[in-house]
Structures are given as structure tokens and as C-alpha cells.
Symmetry: C2
Subunit: 169 residues, 2 copies
């Protein structure tokens, strides 16, 4: 089922998948991309402001995308604008995170009838309901007018087929 710009209402709230912070994946990411002591060394991390091992913000971004998958899947998504991100609480191994998105505002494009803009307020919450990542971003979503509509039907067929072959591009 495709969701078009016309189907979205201001005030709509969407919830993403629960994603669990896997310690091995979290450490592997930090060792490769962000080897700060408080991301890679349990003992040294105790001396840093958060008092223990935390996830790299880069890895948190990866998990944010992962949680968002079921939210964004029904849209024909064309892109996003600037991100304004805050990270008010640390992410730790074993945390269970889930994205919550509220649609704050929608407006059609003045120039292109095939798309509209939705302002999303995004909160990535941990198991205690505390936000670990808060983001405002405008998404560009296709309208029913979009020439991508037909393509989307093809996509739906492909997506179904690819579930049987998850590793194929």
C-alpha cells in the first residue's frame, strides 16, 4: 500500500521498529569509525563524562535509519532537507530504541505538482522513554500526480520478491 502526500495529515504519529543496541556491532562500528576511549574501552570510559561505554553518534544515526524503515517504506520518498539534531541522552549497549515521528506541517510544492513537503519532528526513544536523538527534518514526498506512481507499483512487486532473497541488490 503506497502512501502519497495527500494521505498524510498534520498531527499523524508514526512509530518505527524497535532496534536493540548490539554490543558487538556497536564496538565494531566504533573501532572502525570513531575509536574514542569512551566508545571502545569499557575501563577508560568510566573516567569520561558519561561514566561508561556509549555508542558513537554515527552508530546511533545508523540505528535511527534502521528503526525508520517501516515508517518510510509506504511513502514514495524523494529526499530530505537540513537536519537539526540534538542528542540529549547517551546510547548504551542493550538499549532498546524506537523512533517516533510526528507530522508537524505539510505543504504542497508551489512549483512541482508531483511532490509536497512534510515537516517531521523525530524522537528516537530508549526503553525508559527518554530521547537519545531528536531531529527536525523536512521530507519530500510524492503526490498521486507523480510519474513515479507507476514505478512504485513495480517497486512493490520487487520488494515482495526481494524478501525471499534479502541479500540481492
Amino acid at each position: 500500500m503506497t502512501t502519497y502526500f495527500e494521505d498524510i495529515r498534520e498531527g499523524d504519529v508514526f512509530r518505527g521498529d524497535e532496534v536493540i543496541v548490539d554490543k558487538a556491532e556497536m564496538l565494531a562500528d566504533a573501532r572502525r569509525n570513531d575509536p574514542q576511549p569512551f566508545h571502545v574501552d569499557e575501563e577508560l570510559a568510566k573516567h569520561f563524562p558519561y561514566g561508561g561505554l556509549t555508542a558513537s553518534a554515527g552508530y546511533t544515526v545508523t540505528l535511527w535509519y534502521r528503526s525508520c524503515r517501516p515508517i518510510i517504506a509506504p511513502f514514495v520518498f524523494l529526499g530530505g532537507f537540513d537536519w537539526h539534531i540534538k542528542m540529549p541522552n547517551p546510547v548504551r549497549a542493550g538499549d532498546r530504541l524506537r523512533l517516533e515521528i510526528e507530522i508537524r506541517r505539510k505543504r504542497p510544492s508551489n512549483k512541482q505538482s508531483d511532490r509536497g513537503y512534510i515537516t517531521t519532528s523525530q524522537r528516537f526513544l530508549n526503553q525508559d522513554g527518554k530521547p537519545v536523538f531528536v531531529c527536525e527534518v523536512v521530507w519530500i514526498i510524492a503526490t498521486r500526480d507523480s510519474s513515479l506512481a507507476q514505478l512504485v507499483e513495480k517497486l512493490t512487486v520487487r520488494a515482495t520478491a526481494s524478501e525471499e532473497l534479502p541479500e540481492s541488490p
Copy 2:
């Protein structure tokens, strides 16, 4: 060699590692975390605004961290504040990206003598000098007064040792 807050000057420019956008890694990331058609399907991507396969912004964040490693390594880094991010150009497989950071402003903490704040202007540039990712972020950096100074000496020893065992935590 540790770089403390006192050693940083406004106007300093730092350059990160060149990182190459590996197509297999880019696709694996997108399939797991951000399976938009224009990130995972070369043929369908042609119909979307960028006219071809592009990296997920989440993967670009991963590469941003990877390129930053040698810039941040000499600091005793305590954390960062809000991110304001723009992505003015797409990232494609085979691109060669390098982070450039300019120190715009520095100010000591009023409350804690062990740290100071530096406002960084960060541009992640591709092989044509075009920015794919632009970010303003304030970093918290330890001063010479910091009780983490001694710890850092231990860290340096550990870091040297860990080069021989890159996979160990």
C-alpha cells in the same frame, strides 16, 4: 602528542583521511538500514531526482566519522553539541571524500576549568571539491588542567599497542 584546548587557535584548519566510497559497503549499509530504491537499485535509481544510485545519508555520516579519525585523535575529546547538517550534493560509489574542519571560535568553560568549547565548521568534500555534507558543531575539548591528562598518557600507550592488534577492544 596530545593537543589540549589551549593549543587550538581560531582559524586553524584540519584535514582528515581520504575515504573511498566502496560500492559493496555502501549497498550493504543501505539494504540493512535505508533500502530506498535510489540507494539499492541501480535501474530504478535512474528515475529518481539524482538520476542514479546514491549513498544513504546515514552511510555518509559513517564515512564522515571515518575521515575525522586523524583530526580528532590528538585531542582529549569530551563530547559535542547539536548538529546542524546540510547535504548539498549526492555521494556516489567510487567518490573520494575528505573532511576539512575550520575552527571558528574557542571559549573556555565558565564553570569547569578542565574543558573548553570550540565551534567547528566542517565540510566533507568530494574529489571535485564539492561539499557533500556541511556541519556546524561545538566540540568540548579537555584543557591541560584536566584530570584526564594522566589518563591520556595511558591511552597513548594503549593506542600504540593496539595498532598491532587492530581488532581487539
